[in-house]
Symmetry: C2
Subunit: 284 residues, 2 copies
């Protein structure tokens, strides 16, 4: 049987994580839910975020019969992962641990930079995950990058200038604090769209970690571990080349309110048409 993987985000940025998952698991079935009625989670309290995220996770497990959940939302991963894990009977993976593990694998100096939204930085979730792996992490909020991506200014001189300013500030801070960073984690699901620009503008010798890719790698490991008997069904190399998805992957997208922006911008994040987004009511 084809496994169903539930992917959850407060908005549609998590479609970059779904994209990375589809590349690795083209034969899986995917249900993506964006809790667009209640975004942004970043400005809400932990209790509120946990309540919303649990409702969303339960929809994916109960209604969509997801056997695995990927929380493709940094804020929910930072503040509600345990609450979700307690609330649903399936394995749940967030985006923060995988990003930290990739940084651990990439870094020789042990000093890591993280760029993310204001809310993620304020949660210090990446710093905590890095510290647990004996890394030092310096986090920087880059609140203009999400609106720049959503404006479609992906390869745009203004975006280049903004990234330059943020990276300058971050590396200056790092030097002042005696850091020797060799790794930069993209700690926001919108940032993969800026990856090549960020790589080009990063100082020489800095490896850029795309936490969407790290999360998809970790998800494959988790799923293969849980579903050993059917491993071949899920082997990314069994049916089609990674990155060249010839299989017609089944993807259903749901949102909790207005789908206009989701449908308009989502395809750029998913790398294929998102198609019709179905509206559901989690309050109801």
């Amino acid at each position: 049987m084809t496994p169903t993987i539930g992917v959850f985000d407060s908005g549609f940025g998590g479609l970059t994580v779904l994209r990375a998952l589809v590349r690795r698991l083209p034969q899986a079935r995917f249900a993506f839910l964006g809790d667009t009625a209640r975004l942004p989670y970043g400005s809400k309290s932990r209790r509120t975020i946990a309540r919303y995220a649990v409702q969303s996770a339960q929809f994916l497990v109960r209604e969509q019969r997801a056997e695995f959940l990927v929380i493709a939302c940094n804020t929910a991963s930072a503040l509600a992962l345990e609450a979700i894990q307690e609330a649903v009977p399936v394995p749940v993976l967030g985006v923060i641990q995988p990003g930290a593990h990739s940084a651990r694998a990439a870094s020789r100096s042990g000093d890591v930079l993280v760029i993310a939204t204001d809310a993620t930085v304020h949660s210090h979730a990446y710093a905590a995950a890095c510290h647990a792996l004996n890394l030092r992490a310096l986090e920087k909020a880059c609140p203009l990058l999400v609106p720049l991506v959503e404006e479609g200014w992906i390869a745009h001189p203004v975006t280049e200038q903004v990234i330059r300013i943020y990276l300058d500030e971050l590396t200056t801070d790092a030097a002042a604090q005696g850091f020797c960073p060799d790794t930069l984690v993209l700690g926001c699901t919108h940032y993969p769209l800026l990856r090549s620009l960020i790589e080009r503008l990063s100082p020489a010798g800095i490896a850029v970690i795309d936490s969407a890719e790290s999360t998809a790698d970790a998800a494959v490991q988790l799923i293969n571990g849980v579903r050993k008997p059917r491993r071949s069904m899920l082997d990314p190399f069994s049916g089609s080349k990674v990155g060249e998805n010839t299989v017609q992957t089944e993807i259903r997208c749901f949102a909790t309110d207005s789908v206009e922006k989701f449908e308009r911008l989502g395809s750029r994040f998913l790398g294929r048409p998102v198609g019709k987004v179905e509206i559901i009511d989690l309050d109801g």
Copy 2:
């Protein structure tokens, strides 16, 4: 008796409207509510916005005893003004009509440009209000300006470049459509902080209308009209000079969730310390 004026926004941008009101009515009492738990309204349906806005208005009237309400939120003004007017027994003023009326007064050509958020532009509320006054209006969404203001990049080369791009696109569109614009309406409560930059970068011969100021002017007229017997109490010129508020105006600020950003950024919008923001629960 000192009148209490309720001011409502989905966030804290409406503090620019409150600022303009305080300058004109320094002896009034003000209660400001930012429905921060449920912002942004712009991505929500009309029904949801009306429900939230009515709850917020009822709080200001019932709990704070507001005798007048100013809806200092473009989305709520566009989509929920009538619902609020039906739900509360006090006069209610939005931000859109006053902006359109000021444009009518300023424009000779009858062709008006409007810059606003994506949600406000999609509602076409300014275009409708302008058309009702025999003006032609061309609206443009400028989604990067709010995050730039919130990043504090007020007099910043990036912000200047972004405004230049938006205004270029808008005036090019206007020319292509045979418009002869002589007036530009700032249709977002964040934009007054960029007013001088926008004025400097606007083409010669364009008058910039700050809808926060227009709304405050209209509020004074409305309040004086309703409270004729006590007019002198509310006369902006009775106690102190406009713009030089020597009276200790009483302002209470409320929010429905996290007040961190409100308290951190609000003072820049209000032009004075916002002080302690009280958290209330409208769902409860």
